[in-house]
């Protein structure tokens, strides 16, 4: 059990590194904590578009948007180990969630993680490609919308799950409840599109929905 927890923690750390790398490639650096959690969420709901399994198929719905405590722990650990820089650190009260949270902006210390990222890209090429494309598609959002767009996401915004309840799109519940994936495959009915094309179309539509409230 302890080994499982240790493995999971390592996987979370790698996850943070590849997410920050993907965001940096798209010019989204330094990355705010909400944007990092939001991209992690979008990667989970949209990974089936690339025939990949979600890293996490459930999360607690919060009024302020996606937040993964385990992921934040991994970020904090990486900052502590000197592999990730934390900037503009603040302790802010989130009225929507009625709690304080540490907020910061993050950036890889690339010389220290380059080898690990290259190795990950070789072994998990499809996952790396998926995250690169997703982050590029995500970068169409303006700065003020980064970290807040998922509130309009097809799965996150669905009213069948209330705030403070668990959104489950495949952990215990039926994967067909991954409405984000369902929406992504609905684009251009009857046409053969590349999976990456669906990511761009999804994020473009999400951007439009955010713009129109």
């Amino acid at each position: 059990m302890a080994m499982d927890a240790d493995l999971r923690a390592r996987q979370q750390s790698v996850r943070v590194l590849v997410l920050l790398d993907a965001l940096a490639r798209a010019g989204l650096v330094p990355t705010s904590a909400p944007a990092l959690h939001e991209l992690a969420y979008l990667a989970n709901v949209l990974s089936p578009v690339f025939d990949l399994a979600p890293f996490d198929a459930k999360l607690l719905k919060r009024a302020s948007g996606p937040y993964y405590p385990e992921l934040q722990l991994a970020i904090d650990r990486l900052v502590g180990r000197g592999l990730v820089d934390a900037m503009k650190v603040e302790y802010r009260y989130l009225a929507e969630d009625k709690r304080y949270r540490v907020l910061a902006q993050y950036r890889l210390r690339r010389p220290l993680v380059r080898a690990a990222l290259e190795r990950h890209g070789q072994v998990f090429a499809q996952e790396a490609q998926f995250l690169h494309e997703l982050a590029a598609a995500y970068s169409v959002l303006s700065d003020d919308k980064l970290g807040h767009a998922a509130l309009q996401d097809a799965r996150y915004a669905d009213i069948s799950v209330d705030v403070s309840e668990v959104i489950d799109f495949g952990e215990y519940d039926n994967p067909a409840k991954n409405f984000s994936r369902n929406a992504a495959i609905t684009f251009a009915a009857g046409r053969r599109l590349e999976p990456a094309e669906r990511l761009y179309l999804y994020l473009d539509h999400l951007n439009t929905r955010v713009a129109h409230g």
Partner: protein, 362 residues
């Protein structure tokens, strides 16, 4: 009781019709192409979007530079993130744009003439990075200068038009001519890992020679036509699997796509990768198969143009008239364009053929 949708889009269920009828942008459609080519296509698409706007600017150039993640992590001062750059709604000229492969990133104005633009790139240590210089000119005459190794290596520059060009058979042939000249003509032009030959001295073709030719041609076509066209390979259907399709389905209303051309690629080998000899009759049948495939795919899938593209790896270059003699009339009836390129086994063979051609006045 209302009928349940087959696929539940949750909070977006009300948008289902919009999702189904979305206008395709082409973004993400070229994920299997090399990064620098994807970048070039994305930049051309971005410039086209801007030039379609009535308030587009044409007064001074711009630079678009493909930068690695590390550049953004320690980016020069004064750069501003421009998330809507691809929308066509914002000025591109008079600026330096540092971008990722999907042409999103950060920008900054530069002041002064063309020299100032190049100085700005050098000052940012970006003159060795893949760069597109946008040279705007009203009336559809804008150009893109592509520096794959950065503006510091200006002997490697290629120039492309911004305005979209319909993929006619002549233009397609022109693109394949260029690919042939630069990559296929003789084995010395490419590394061993991409060679079309298993053993050129013995005339043994590589097992996957056709696949490699197809890939090289597809890259060439993508560079030329991708901003408005999807260049697809190996598309299966009931009639078989096409080699290359050129389809215009970006920025058009749903159902308004144009199936421009289908290309059937055939490599004519005297000997395969194990050295087994193929008879002239077998090779003639291979050519005829290609004709029938191009015709059937063209009819079944409603392509405007059909082309049979043959790459001759045999020891003697007999020319198109001889290679296509048995199918020429049928090709005319079936409206299939016939094209031939001859692949030399060595640079020496190529030089000898050139000299012989000159001496005989060919």
């Amino acid at each position: 009781m209302a009928e349940q949708p087959l696929v539940d889009q949750g909070a977006w269920a009300q948008d289902e019709d919009k999702l189904k009828a979305v206008v395709l942008t082409g973004k993400g459609s070229d994920i299997d192409l090399p990064e620098d080519l994807r970048f070039l296509i994305a930049v051309r698409r971005m410039v086209l979007a801007r030039e379609r706007e009535p308030d587009a600017e044409f007064e001074c150039p711009a630079a678009m530079v493909l930068v690695p993640a590390a550049f953004f992590e320690a980016s020069p001062d004064g750069l501003v993130r421009r998330p809507f750059l691809n929308s066509g709604n914002y000025r591109l000229t008079g600026q330096v744009h540092y971008l990722g492969v999907a042409a999103t990133g950060r920008s900054r104005d530069y002041a002064g003439d063309d020299g100032a633009l190049l100085d700005a790139l050098a000052a940012d240590h970006a003159d060795i990075l893949p760069t597109v210089i946008y040279l705007p000119k009203a009336g559809g005459h804008s150009k893109l200068s592509w520096f794959p190794f950065g503006v510091a290596q200006d002997d490697k520059v290629q120039t492309l038009p911004v305005a979209p060009e319909p993929p006619t058979p002549e233009r397609i042939r022109h693109v394949i001519d260029a690919v042939y000249e630069h990559e296929l003509k003789s084995p010395d032009q490419v590394g061993a890992s991409f060679s079309l030959w298993k053993d050129p001295a013995k005339g043994w073709a590589a097992k996957n020679a056709e696949e490699r030719v197809q890939y090289a041609v597809r890259l060439g076509l993508s560079g030329r036509f991708s901003p408005q066209c999807r260049i697809k390979a190996e598309q299966p259907d009931k009639d078989g699997r096409t080699d290359i399709e050129i389809i215009g389905d970006f920025d058009v209303a749903p159902g308004k796509q144009t199936n421009f051309a289908v290309l059937e690629m055939k490599v004519l080998r005297e000997r395969g990768s194990t050295g087994v000899l193929r008879s002239p009759a077998q090779i003639d049948q291979h050519v005829r198969d290609g004709l029938e495939q191009a015709s059937t795919y063209g009819d079944d899938r409603h392509f405007e143009e059909r082309m049979l593209c043959c790459f001759d790896m045999r020891p003697t270059n007999t020319g198109a008239a001889a290679v296509f003699a048995a199918i020429k009339d049928d090709a005319e009836t079936l409206k299939v364009h016939l094209c031939l390129w001859y692949l030399y086994r060595s640079s020496d063979d190529y030089r000898k053929a050139q000299v012989a051609g000159k001496l005989t006045g060919g």
